[in-house]
């Protein structure tokens, strides 16, 4: 993958001879932020834009970037945060798009009026390599020397004027974290864009491309000379602490141990801290549903709003705290420089299934929720590796599966906590094993390709920025609510329709039901009568009819028609199976909340037409295996669609997971029936 940028390598032109644009122009100009990964580009972008930024895809690509409209003095500016680059010879789709955007080759995207180079003062030599290629593009350029406060603290003195001479463009020392130097930076940007000042190439740099040997080598040699001419002090001072930490954190065994500890702590924080806002959201939606159902007269509108809209949206939003916390902690870890070490220590292990080390954290995050996990696969450079990871992520046991696991284990092993715990763990293990096996399979079939060997910069450890982490969390959370929210709302409405129509009028009730209803009413059991009515209504609804129609399909798995309806209604959100079974087995929708006990009692008592119990060990195991492996989560599908850029991948995901779940449940049921 190479973009035709080589022709710009040798511009010996030193002065801006192109006809300058009108100097009166104050209209919107585009400024692109360009820099190495870890140079603090995003921090600078956040410092300049705050909450005004929007996340968008470049036209025709799945490559995401952030842009914001801001005003510098009288000038209105569109600021674009491009993906990080090490050089202008791209090797990933993100890098390709970034390179094309800088050079104005991206269809539908005008070339930037100014390139804002972001350089890390504490790692200048490496950053100057990209800088040398960028100034050769001969676009108006300003360099922001970021982390200048850190450099100062480390005893590094950067001679800004000398560096400006080497780069041929204005250089301003800034700190995105403290805001130091921002005014000077904006003034330099304003002047450069106003006068259309283009870089004056340093004579040695101009000669760089023409000398023999490795052109990269000559450029690195230039970067080294530029750095040694402009920086005084021990350039490795900042690295000493990092080196000491890395001695432990990248150690073959100690590194793995530390990583396990970091991840365990992360998950404890997520699961513990998320319970409070989750309860709050749950209560909020329950109260909202309550208010609506009290204010509106009983009827379809009432039911639509309380069960369809509020129930559906609430069911999705209740996971938002977990999603946000996961994003937040991962952002802090990434910002601190630790994530590169995690990828480093996991690389050898992950290679066994054909995935890179960077796939591990997303796979692990999927144990909280697949959605942030899929979004966090963006760190994986290779598209095939990234797709393979996305495809298997939903097999990991997310929090929404826990209610289902809890129901089945309590049903099968009510008085054996140890065995129940083992079954629970077994379900987790099955998900992990299936994910790794499928990743292995995908990498050998659909997504066949060589395993990309690890090359990763291990940046200096830094104190992570809370501000950046919060902004990123906010951004991702909004993306989730927008993507998943609309889909979930639509599907909730469809499911509500299917579960509520056609209506069952009291006259159509079979005589047996009538008699039981009258008995219950006579005994004063209003709730019981209502539950019976709900049960009969659902049986007669479209969902019930479809469930009965497809029941033969699920019969080999041991599912009765009620469980088949549950599988259908939980298509969009797997945890719905619990409330559906509650309704179908005559407990009412609130039956699931009354404590699992009453639901379990009625499930245990449920019998088939021939009098044999529905819930045998075989059925329970089969149901558990089905829910470990089945997709059953529409928001995840919507996010897969968004991240992969087409409907093809979510459809493959749905297809293979459903088949896998069906086959595995079938084998489980038949084998368990033979053995018990």
């Amino acid at each position: 993958m190479s973009v035709a940028l080589d022709h710009v390598e040798l511009p010996v032109v030193a002065a801006a001879t192109d006809a300058p644009r009108s100097t009166e122009r104050r209209g919107p100009v585009t400024i692109a932020l360009v820099g190495n990964p870890n140079a603090g580009k995003t921090s600078l972008f956040n410092r300049l834009t705050g909450l005004r930024a929007k996340t968008a895809n470049f036209p025709g690509t799945t490559v995401e970037h952030r842009r914001a409209a801001i005003a510098i003095d009288q000038l209105s500016v569109t600021l674009i945060d491009l993906p990080g680059l090490y050089s202008l010879e791209p090797s990933t789709p993100d890098e390709l798009v970034a390179c094309q955007a800088i050079s104005g080759q991206l269809a539908g995207e005008a070339p930037p009026d100014l390139v804002l180079l972001v350089l890390d003062s504490t790692n200048l030599e490496r950053n100057l390599f990209l800088a040398s290629q960028v100034v050769e593009l001969h676009r108006p350029t300003v360099a922001a020397l970021n982390f200048s406060d850190v450099a100062q603290r480390e005893g590094l003195a950067v001679d800004v004027d000398e560096l400006a001479r080497w780069l041929g463009c204005p250089v301003v020392a800034v700190s995105a974290r403290t805001g130091q130097g921002m005014d000077q930076l904006l003034a330099a940007v304003d002047a450069t864009v106003h006068e259309q000042i283009r870089p004056r190439l340093h004579p040695e740099l101009a000669a760089c491309g023409s000398c023999g040997g490795c052109r990269h080598s000559a450029r690195f040699a230039w970067a080294e000379r530029a750095r040694s001419a402009s920086v005084r002090g021990d350039v490795h001072a900042h690295g000493h602490l990092t080196e000491a930490l890395d001695r432990v954190l990248t150690h073959r065994w100690a590194g793995l141990g530390c990583f396990a500890l970091v991840m365990a702590a992360t998950f404890m924080v997520i699961f513990w801290a998320a319970t409070f806002p989750m309860d709050l959201i749950d209560r909020l939606f329950a109260t909202a549903g309550d208010l609506v159902s009290r204010w509106l007269p009983e009827g379809d509108l009432n039911s639509l709003l309380t069960h369809g809209v509020i129930g559906g949206v609430g069911g999705m939003l209740v996971f938002l705290p977990q999603i946000c916390l996961l994003f937040f902690v991962l952002a802090l870890l990434e910002d601190s420089g630790y994530m590169a070490r995690a990828a480093f220590v996991m690389d050898r292990l992950m290679h066994r299934v054909g995935l890179p080390g960077k796939a591990f954290v997303p796979l692990l995050s999927a144990h909280a929720c697949a959605i942030p996990a899929i979004m966090s696969t963006r760190v994986i450079e290779d598209r095939r590796d990234r797709l393979a990871t996305i495809m298997v992520i939903p097999l990991m046991t997310c929090s929404a599966r826990i209610p289902v696991y809890a129901m089945v284990t309590a049903l099968l092993l009510p008085d054996a906590p140890l065995k129940a715990a083992a079954l629970f763990s077994g379900a987790y293990a099955l998900g992990i094993a299936a994910a790794l096996a499928m990743a292995w399979l995908f990498k050998r079939t659909l997504l066949k390709g060589p395993i990309r060997p690890l090359v990763i910069e291990l940046p200096n450890y830094r104190l992570p920025s809370l501000r950046n982490a919060l902004l990123l969390t906010f951004d991702r959370a909004m993306a989730f609510v927008k993507t998943a929210g609309t889909t979930i709302l639509a599907i909730s409405l469809v499911l509500w329709l299917l579960a509520n129509y056609p209506k069952t009028s009291p006259d159509e009730l079979p005589p047996g039901v009538h008699a039981r209803l009258q008995q219950l009413s006579a005994a004063g059991d209003e709730a019981g009568a209502r539950h019976l009515l709900e049960q009969v209504s659902l049986e007669n609804s479209f969902a019930g009819q479809i469930g009965r129609a497809v029941q033969p399909l699920f019969a080999p798995l041991g599912f009765d028609w009620k469980m088949s309806v549950g599988v259908l209604t939980s298509f969009a959100a797997r945890e719905v199976i619990v409330s559906t079974t509650a309704i179908l087995y005559g407990l009412g929708a609130e039956g699931a909340d009354d404590g699992v006990d009453s639901l379990l009692d009625s499930l245990r008592g449920a019998a088939r037409a021939d009098g044999t119990p529905v819930f045998t060990t075989a059925t329970g195991l089969s149901l558990l295996v089905f829910y470990v492996l089945a997709m059953q989560c529409l928001p995840t599908q919507a996010v897969t669609r968004r991240e992969s850029g087409s409907w093809k991948w979510p459809l493959i995901q749905l297809g293979y997971m459903t088949l896998l779940a069906y086959a595995a449940a079938l084998v489980t049921y038949q084998a368990a029936r033979l053995l018990t």
Partner: protein
Amino acid sequence: MPPTEPSEPRLLPLQVAMPLSRQPCGASLRIVRLEADGDDCARLNALGVCVGRRLCVLRSGDPMIIRVVGARVGLSARLAAAVWVDSTPAAASHEAPHPAAPVRTAV
């Protein structure tokens, strides 16, 4: 890519090129040849692993850590095996060694 083969001593009379993957921790080395294919080669080059430059091994094994262009880079052994290095002293390649780099030279 310079025409240096490990088996042709007349081109490099004093130094023998060796794969980076087998170098011990602390070795300070010069890169003489890259045998990685296109994409991997571009990634290595972009991070400063290119012919004529120097690097220093900070941790050996798989994956290994090297210091190149003033920063640490993690590298899988498979890729390191495609990077051929020799132990020409820093002075001979007209580049100053990194001040913090260990001075021990690989045999």
